[in-house]
């Protein structure tokens, strides 16, 4: 699934309606970002976000008329594809036997049921044989080992055409297609490196030009490049350094402007980097996102968090994606932090203010 879930509907951070910059927040040493702060909140954030998703799983159910032309894909197949994609990543990132691992597996199985073990996706492909999205949704399942022979039989000749190889789309989405091809196990239509160099991220764009749309393009570039965090070593060294250098500035802006969904995606990117976890960044940002999370586990996409204690303080469509992203980012962050501890020979949670070895070099 590669469609960008949410475009930033908001303005810039820290600006009042007259366009003046906001006041600087007071500097309170030690208030956030304490060593170990991320690990202190992450298990609860993950369990709670997954519990909310599980409790709302029927909201991901496909309607009977899902294949009719009038049905909104963004409210039906897209959320379900995201449930499969992020659920399968969480399943693979968590340890067997843990409750999170079990719930994530249940959610993927539920999504697979909803597409009738792939039969519905074949029907979708027959209805729209020249569109890419049925293939991308199918790839989310195929990458997890859930496959449908008939779907692949029809997709095989289509994905071998010149037309498929020349599908016109944004570079980050083309990377998504390459990743889908890898998951299904066919020869990719082009070289991922060449596509990467055409993305906003691959161009090492000036970091002060970051905004909502380039932000989502950047996070999806990393998700597709790393197969949703599974293959951090696919991140080239210079992009690793670039991200370690600038993610703190971008995450800070997203927090200040209440862009919780994009914050979660940036955290997932941070946890998908090769080598040691960017501990300082995770310690600074996770406690803030944990505060935004509702007691029931859902996280709003943007804006001031609701103080409403009822189970559903936000419309489903305005919080399901950010909640899934939060769970996904939390699972990746836990893995990244624990691996960092293991490499350093420390018991988990004993942080030492890890350095960032891959950080970009200074100009001479």
């Amino acid at each position: 699934m590669t469609t960008t879930a949410t475009e930033d509907p908001q303005g810039r951070p820290g600006q009042d309606p007259q366009g003046r910059p906001a006041r600087e927040p007071a500097f309170t040493p030690g208030a956030s970002g304490a060593s170990g702060a991320a690990l202190a909140v992450l298990p609860g954030v993950l369990a709670s976000a997954l519990a909310w998703t599980d409790a709302h799983r029927t909201r991901f159910a496909l309607p009977d008329d899902v294949l009719e032309p009038h049905t909104q894909v963004n409210a039906t197949l897209k959320p379900l594809g995201e449930l499969a994609q992020l659920g399968s990543t969480i399943r693979r990132t968590t340890a067997p036997g843990t409750p999170e691992h079990e719930v994530a597996g249940d959610l993927v199985a539920y999504a697979w049921e909803q597409v009738h073990e792939g039969a519905l996706l074949l029907e979708l492909l027959r209805a729209e044989p020249f569109a890419a999205y049925p293939y991308e949704i199918y790839a989310a399942f195929a990458g997890y080992g859930l496959r449908h022979e008939g779907f692949e039989a029809l997709a095989r000749p289509l994905t071998a055409t010149r037309a498929w190889a020349h599908t016109e789309q944004h570079a980050n989405r083309q990377l998504g297609l390459v990743n889908s091809e890898r998951r299904v196990g066919v020869v990719t239509h082009t070289d991922a490196g060449g596509v990467l160099s055409r993305t906003w991220l691959g161009g090492l764009s000036e970091p002060w030009m970051f905004e909502g749309s380039s932000g989502y393009a950047l996070t999806h570039t990393v998700f597709h490049l790393t197969d949703w965090g599974r293959m951090p070593d696919r991140v080239p060294k210079k992009i690793d350094g670039y991200l370690r250098t600038w993610l703190p500035a971008w995450a800070d802006g997203c927090l200040e402007s209440g862009q919780w969904d994009l914050t979660g995606e940036l955290l997932a990117v941070a946890a998908s980097l090769p080598g040691p976890a960017p501990v300082e960044l995770l310690d600074a940002v996770w406690p803030v996102l944990a505060d935004v999370q509702h007691p029931t586990g859902c996280v709003p996409e943007t804006g001031v968090p609701a103080e409403d204690p009822s189970p559903d303080p936000y419309p489903f469509i305005d919080c399901y994606h950010s909640t899934l992203v939060t769970a996904f980012a939390a699972a990746l962050s836990l893995r990244s932090l624990r691996q960092t501890d293991e490499r350093a020979g420390r018991p988990t949670g004993e942080q030492t203010g890890e350095t960032t070895p891959g950080r970009e070099r200074h100009t001479p």
Binding site: R12, T245, P248
Partner: protein
Amino acid sequence: MDQKHASSPLAGAVHDLATEVVLALRSGDHLATVCGAAGIDEENRTGIAAVRVIGADLLLPSVLYGRHPHPGDVAVLDRAVREFPPKPDAPAATAWSHWHMISTLQRMAPPAPGAAAPGTYAEPDAAWLEEAPWQAFTHQLSVLAPLAVPAAPSAVQRAAANRAVDLSRGFVRAVRRRDWLQAAGAGRWLAATGGEPATLGLDRGLDFVELMGGHDPRVTLHVRAARLMAEARAR
């Protein structure tokens, strides 16, 4: 006085002074006094207060072009130092600004033998800067942007040089917040001390900051200073 952007007589005087400094920086051979052009003399209390706000940047054209400052500007800066000493509980940034005004006067216009020196003032502490999170660090450094000049070593300058990546992140944050003055100050520090990551794109970033925020002459002042220092470094 140009009151267009001024919310008070002091803000107006600061605006006028900064405008004159920018003109002097642009012309490079500006011989008139900055204060004179802004209509400020030693008897103008609002003007003296405005000089306290601009700080040692009053002499910036002379500092960057290596020329002797105009005696009128030296006199007004000296007056501002004497009239507005920091209180014992003043914020650290105020103490640093005061220290820098004195050291700039000593460097650029040493008193004639027998004349009264502006007094000594111990270099303030900078340990608090080293511990500040990058956001607060950049904000404070931006307030102290007049200290970002060549050949004027200080603990603040060493902190800036040691935390170039943090300052660069602060520049990015300030642009995103449309805080052009902070961005210009951070950019000036980076131009003075170097060491920013290559991907920052500081030159184009400073162009952008000036074009977006240049209605405030203090923004233009910092950007112009940054360009002159960057050109000098490149030589």
